[in-house]
Every structure is written in structure tokens, then in C-alpha cells.
């Protein structure tokens, strides 16, 4: 049975205000439920801007020249307000320090749900469950600004989990985490994809994507230059763009394999 389409970008182009070059240039992509897509590309290739296009931050919040259309769960994103968009797609930003402003982890995670009009008790309960899922249950009532970078990033991920949206967008979600925590976060994202959610993550670490993603999108100069399965990671394109290919791993039969 064909999987249901949840997000479609049609000929999307965007230039930031005051800049001539396109951060995203004529991109058309479709994402389906249960998919775990990794977006890779050199620094400044437009990966983050592409994510911003997916949840309406471009052009609603970030001004510039925009053309094309974005369909979120079959609806035109330009006609949706942020509360409605956040029900469909939640987002984790690269630097958690810039998005955390509440006094407790619980309040921070519940913020999105309260914006949607969820009852305070229900929002706090959902926040508690999401925080427990990222392994920070004991930090629920602590000040998030006092946590380590890795723990803050987990709080940001818990915000996305609590939102319970069908699509989860992540901008280099493990850039401040150690190897073990990165593996844990990606394993959790993989589990969410298997539950039927769509996970779309920009990432520099191709090894993590090789292990957990199901689809690889390569972006260069604002354009999608390759879109395919995990075989993309072992193509010559990765080296040509200055990206590090996935590290070889020991297979189950003891032989060294590349994904």
C-alpha cells in the first residue's frame, strides 16, 4: 500500500531580504509518513532554510522573496496559522540556548501545547511524558538554562515530542551531544519514524544517517542535487562536496562494511 504523503514542496525558491542569491532554488520534494529523511550538504548550502520552508517560518516569519507552494498534510501552509502548523510539524533548532526561555523544563516543554489551547494540567502531563522519554525525568522542575548543552538539546527535542505532531523537523539536532547521546537521540527518532511519524533532519554526521535514516537528500547551493536511499552516502558526491562519508562498521558477520 502506498504511503500517505504528509508534506510537499512545489518549486520552492527563497532569497533572504537584501540578498540576490537564492538560499533555496526551485526545490520540489515530497515526504511520506514513516519516512526518516536526512538532509546533508556543505555549510551554507541551504539545508536550514529548506527546513524553515517546510513549516512556514519562510516566508511567514523570515522575510525575503518566496515563490512556490508548501502543502502540509494536504493543506496550503500559507493559509495556516502557526498554531495549526505546529500541530502538523514541530521543529528542533540547532542551538537550544536560543530557544529556551522558561524557568523550568516542564514549562518549556509545555509551552507549545499551551499555545494550542491545551488545558494546563494536560499540557504539563504531556510535558512530563516527553521529558521522561528523552531521559531527563529527574530534571523536570529544574531551570533549563542551568543544564548542560546536551541536556538542553534533549529538552528542545522533548518540546517536539510533546507536540505530538506528524512531522518532526530537526536542524542538526545532535551537534552539541556526545556520541552516546547522539546515538540515543537518533535511535529515538528512528523509533518515531517506525511509529509512522515523518522525521526530517539536517545533519553533518553521515554515520548517524547511515544507521537510522531511510532517505538521503543532498543539497548544494540551495538546490537538491541528489535524492535517494542510503546508497547516496557511499557515492562519490559525498566526498566531492567535502562531506565525510559514513565510518565503516563491523557487520554482524564480523566483516567491515560500509552502509
Amino acid at each position: 500500500m502506498a504511503k500517505k504523503e504528509v508534506l510537499r514542496l512545489e518549486s520552492v525558491s527563497f532569497s533572504y531580504a537584501g540578498k540576490k542569491e537564492k538560499a533555496v532554488g526551485g526545490t520540489s520534494l515530497a515526504f511520506y509518513e514513516g519516512e526518516f529523511a536526512g538532509i546533508i550538504g556543505p555549510v551554507g548550502s541551504g539545508k536550514t532554510t529548506l527546513l524553515y520552508c517546510c513549516n512556514g517560518l519562510v516566508p511567514k516569519e523570515i522575510r525575503g522573496t518566496f515563490s512556490g507552494s508548501v502543502q502540509l498534510l494536504g493543506k496550503d501552509a500559507s493559509r495556516m496559522g502557526f498554531p495549526e502548523i505546529s500541530r502538523a510539524a514541530s521543529m528542533v533548532f540547532q542551538d537550544p540556548n536560543d530557544q529556551i526561555f522558561n524557568l523550568t523544563v516542564e514549562e518549556e516543554v509545555a509551552f507549545g501545547l499551551l499555545n494550542r489551547g491545551v488545558r494546563r494540567e494536560d499540557a504539563l502531563a504531556a510535558a512530563g511524558r516527553a521529558v521522561a522519554r528523552v531521559g531527563l525525568a529527574e530534571k523536570l522542575h529544574e531551570d533549563p538554562s542551568e543544564l548542560s548543552s546536551g541536556q538542553k538539546q534533549k529538552v528542545a527535542i522533548a518540546c517536539a515530542l510533546a507536540a505530538d505532531s506528524r512531522i518532526i523537523l530537526l536542524d542538526e539536532p545532535v551537534s552539541s551531544l556526545d556520541w552516546r547521546s547522539s546515538q540515543e537521540v537518533y535511535a529515538m527518532l528512528g523509533a518515531l519514524a517506525r511509529e509512522g511519524r515523518t522525521v526530517i533532519a539536517t545533519e553533518q554526521d553521515t554515520s548517524l544517517l547511515a544507521r537510522h535514516a531511510t532517505r538521503i537528500i543532498v543539497v548544494e547551493g540551495g538546490k537538491v542535487v541528489k535524492d535517494g536511499g542510503l546508497e547516496v552516502l557511499s557515492s562519490g558526491l559525498i566526498g566531492r562536496l567535502g562531506l565525510r562519508p559514513p565510518m565503516a562498521e563491523k557487520g554482524k558477520n564480523g566483516r567491515t562494511v560500509r552502509p
Binding site: 517560518l57 516569519e61 502557526f82 500541530r87 536560543d98 526561555f101 524557568l103 509551552f111
Partner: protein, 195 residues
């Protein structure tokens, strides 16, 4: 006790406290500082630790008090002794402003931003402005930490203390944080236009 008090009650008490401070004679300033210290004690917070961790805030009471100390002429009689007016009024002014600055800080440190904005909204303030004020309250410690980190980085590179060299990166960082925070709030369903 202070933590458990509702945000609206805290805001009302804070407003009353500050109004009383402003309209009371300067001689009562030590009493108000004693009340501030008692409130910190009730909240189980170490006043000196709070002052130490936010040293930059000390400039607010310090600068005007120093001006008064250095430039106020005349003398004041206290218990039969004549003392320089600059010394007496400068000291009282410092005590007055110390209490005026650190009491609202206690409110910010013990109240969640959503509760602050809720309390401000219940006083008739529009949602958008209420949230701006509540985030401003809790951003004080971020700015302080950012300033300390910037200062340490500059010293490590042999830079001498300089206000523009400190202020420019701190301001740039604050604007960048404000922008990303706005994106993050929008992505979590906060609609500024609706607010």
C-alpha cells in the same frame, strides 16, 4: 512560600512594595532593604549569591549613589553629629536603589514567564506585551552570562576592559537570540499577530 504564591498576588505585592519605596522618605530605605532581605530569606535564596551572580546589576544603584556622594554639598545632622550630606544621602540612595532593583529580580527568579505574562494580562496588558515583559525579566541572567563569557574571551586574547568591545558582541548575541527565539516560538504555535 514566595515560590508558592500566585503570580498575580506577587505582582500586586511587588507593585505596592515599590510604590511604598518610591513615596516613602529616603530615611526609611534601610527598612525596605531589610524587607527585601527577608523576602529572599523566605524564598530560601542567598541574597549575596544572587548579587554576586549578577554583578552588572549593581551598577544601577552604584552610579547614581556615587554621583550623589561626590557632588552633593552641605551637611546633615544625625544624633547631634554633623555629617556630610553626600555621604549620608549617597549611602541611603544606594540602599534604596539596591532594594528597588533586587526585589523585582526576586519576582523574576521565582515566577515562570508564562505565569508572569498571565499576571500582567490579568492586569489588562495585551498578551503580546505581557510576554515581551516576562521574557525580558528572565533574559537578564542570559545577558549577564553572555557578558561574562565575552569578557573572559577578550581577556584571554589580551584585550583590556572596554565598554564598546564588550557591548557590541553582547548586543549582537542578544539580537541573534531574540530572532531565533521568535522563530522557535512561532514554530511552537505562538502567533504574535493573534496575540
Amino acid at each position: 512560600m514566595v515560590h508558592a504564591l500566585g503570580a498575580r498576588a506577587k505582582l500586586a505585592l511587588l507593585a505596592l512594595f515599590m510604590l511604598a519605596q518610591v513615596f516613602a522618605p529616603l530615611a526609611y530605605a534601610p527598612l525596605f532593604l531589610a524587607a527585601t532581605l527577608a523576602l529572599y530569606s523566605l524564598a530560601r535564596m542567598d541574597f549575596l549569591e544572587v548579587v554576586k551572580s549578577r554583578k552588572a546589576l549593581l551598577l544601577l544603584p552604584l552610579i547614581p549613589s556615587l554621583v550623589r556622594l561626590l557632588f552633593e554639598k552641605g551637611s546633615v545632622e544625625i544624633a547631634g553629629a554633623l555629617l556630610p550630606a553626600g555621604l549620608v544621602n549617597g549611602s541611603l540612595n544606594f540602599v534604596f536603589l539596591l532594594s528597588l532593583v533586587y526585589t523585582p529580580l526576586l519576582f523574576a527568579l521565582t515566577t515562570a514567564p508564562s505565569q508572569i505574562s498571565g499576571a500582567l494580562r490579568s492586569c489588562g496588558m495585551p498578551k503580546r506585551w505581557a510576554l515581551i515583559f516576562s521574557i525580558a525579566f528572565v533574559s537578564v541572567s542570559y545577558i549577564q552570562k553572555k557578558a561574562e563569557r565575552t569578557l573572559a574571551a577578550q581577556r584571554a586574547r589580551g584585550c583590556r576592559r572596554s565598554v564598546p568591545a564588550l557591548m557590541l558582541p553582547v548586543l549582537h548575541s542578544c539580537f541573534r537570540r531574540a530572532r531565533t527565539m521568535a522563530y522557535s516560538m512561532a514554530a511552537r504555535g505562538f502567533d504574535a499577530d493573534e496575540a
